[in-house]
């Protein structure tokens, strides 16, 4: 078992767990349990997380009341309860999945935040924040260019004066590093 707690073994272990979890999920989606397949996602993620952390505890020093004790306790209960919830999903004794919303639109929103995160390193905090705010407002169908400009500039000024100047928080400067 210890083979799976380091290096390639760990990778194999994680991949196998994710594959099994996906298998269960898609199995449910294309069976008559499809209304409960979404409810199975969280318990499945919890079980995968627990098992990944469990295999790591095998490498901990073994001693009385040692570093593995409490994580193992949480892992045990988390797996147990997740299995119970999964069981309820299989037998349909749980709330049905909520209606599917605009997942693509949400993906766009999350993607924008992630792009913002990476842009901070290159463009610096101030430029990327302005761009992010403007794009996000546009995405949410806000169409008053003047207000968009005002909110963006206002935020950049606020964060520069309060966070950068007054509180001396070292916001990433990126491109404008040499000008400030």
């Amino acid at each position: 078992m210890e083979y799976f707690s380091e290096g390639t073994g760990l990778l194999v272990w994680i991949l196998a767990l994710i594959l099994i979890a996906c298998g269960i999920y898609f199995g449910m989606r294309y069976s008559k349990m499809r209304d409960y397949s979404g409810q199975a996602i969280i318990p499945l993620i919890m079980i995968v997380l627990s098992l990944v952390l469990w295999v790591k505890t095998l490498g901990f020093p073994t001693e009385d009341a040692g570093p593995a004790l409490i994580p193992l306790l949480w892992i045990f209960w988390l797996i147990l309860l997740s299995v119970v919830i999964l069981f309820f999903c299989f037998t349909g004794r749980i709330d049905k999945d909520p209606k599917r919303g605009r997942i693509f639109f949400l993906g766009l929103g999350v993607g924008l935040v992630v792009v913002y995160y990476f842009a901070m390193d290159y463009l610096g905090y101030f430029i990327s924040s302005f761009l992010f705010l403007a794009t996000a407002m546009y995405m949410l169908s806000y169409r008053k260019p003047f207000t968009i400009l005002l909110v963006g500039t206002g935020w950049v000024l606020f964060s520069y004066l309060i966070f950068y100047k007054l509180l001396y928080i070292q916001l990433p400067l990126g491109l404008i590093e040499d000008f400030i």
């Binding site: 020093p61 001693e63 001396y168 070292q170």
Partner: protein, 318 residues
């Protein structure tokens, strides 16, 4: 012709002169002093004290920048990621070396310029004055009676103070249990509450806390001031624990320009000899000390070996 010669000479002198001052001119912009804790941490106080005293001797502006995280690893990696132009240096303590070791020695200490070790805090065995066990003799007697169940408290396992405790047990031939707390303050609370017998720390921990008492100190001679009647290990008959310290100092990325180096050496020298600085250091029960470059690096390397041994012993690293 003669006039021309003189004029040429004058211009030359002026050019060379301005050139050489251009080289020697450091710093031309504010210098960042990186601190590995949040504002208000012990090392933060130390760094800010240094900048106020340094202001007596230089017009340079110092800006204290807090880069906290992973016991100093974040700050050290930040230093290593910046240019070695002398415009950033960092406050370090011995516990950072412990973190370098426990994080897998990814950081090579040779990549850093260990500029100056400025202060040494002797390790101290601290007891609760109101408890019946508060002198060294009483600790030893109690430890023998309890046969390994005596409780010592202190900050995290594998740190400076834990290593000091293990060395002390070895040297005195006693056994005890180390119960770590999240911070020195919480461990002191445990000692005050009677949940442990001994706290391992530094003399400054007892200042302003009249119920705490330094039982023994790890220094070759007695300290002055409030600590004049605290015995050293040698005095209580323990050999080999005369110089267990928690040092504090400054380092930067290796390879800064000569003029920056000269600036810092000069500044550290002056601050070290400053009366207010010495008073500040000694009031905290510490000893001003001045080790530079190679000697500092040698200490660091020695500490690395010691931490590695101790961390292996308690199973924190493989």
């Amino acid at each position: 012709m003669k006039k021309g010669c003189i004029a040429l000479l004058v211009t030359l002198v002026v050019i060379v002169g301005s050139f050489s001052t251009a080289i020697a001119k450091f710093p031309t912009k504010p210098i960042k002093l990186i601190v590995y804790t949040k504002p208000g941490g012990a090392i933060d106080v130390f760094a800010r004290k240094f900048t106020t005293i340094a202001a007596k001797y230089t017009d340079a502006t110092f800006v204290v920048v807090n880069k906290s995280g992973a016991g100093g690893i974040v700050a050290i990696k930040y230093i290593l990621s910046e240019k070695a132009d002398g415009y950033q240096f960092a406050a370090v303590t011995r516990s950072n070396v412990g973190k370098i070791v426990s994080s897998g020695n990814e950081i090579n200490v040779e990549d850093l310029d260990w500029m100056a070790m400025m202060v040494s805090d002797p390790e101290a065995i601290i007891t609760n004055r109101t408890s019946p066990i508060n002198t060294w003799e009483q600790i030893v007697a109690d430890a023998k009676e309890k046969g390994g169940d005596q409780i010592w408290v202190g900050p995290a396992a594998g740190g400076n103070d834990h290593i000091m405790a293990m060395k002390t047990w070895n040297a005195a031939g006693i056994k005890a249990k180390w119960i770590p707390y999240a911070s020195g303050g919480k461990a002191m609370a445990a000692l005050l509450g009677g949940h442990g017998v001994v706290y391992v720390g530094n003399p400054q921990d007892v200042i302003g806390r009249p119920d705490l008492k330094v039982a023994v100190i790890s220094n070759s001679e007695r300290l002055g001031g409030d600590f004049a009647d605290v015995p050293t290990f040698k005095e209580v008959g323990i050999e080999g624990l005369d110089n267990e310290i928690l040092w504090r100092g400054f380092m930067a990325k290796k390879g800064m320009p000569e003029e920056a180096k000269a600036f810092y050496h000069d500044l550290f020298d002056k601050v070290n000899n400053d009366a207010e600085w010495q008073e500040y250091v000694q009031r905290g029960g510490a000893v001003p000390l001045f080790d530079k470059e190679d000697k500092f690096l040698a200490t660091v390397k020695n500490d690395q070996i010691e931490f590695a041994e101790a961390l292996k012993k308690i199973g924190a690293i493989k």
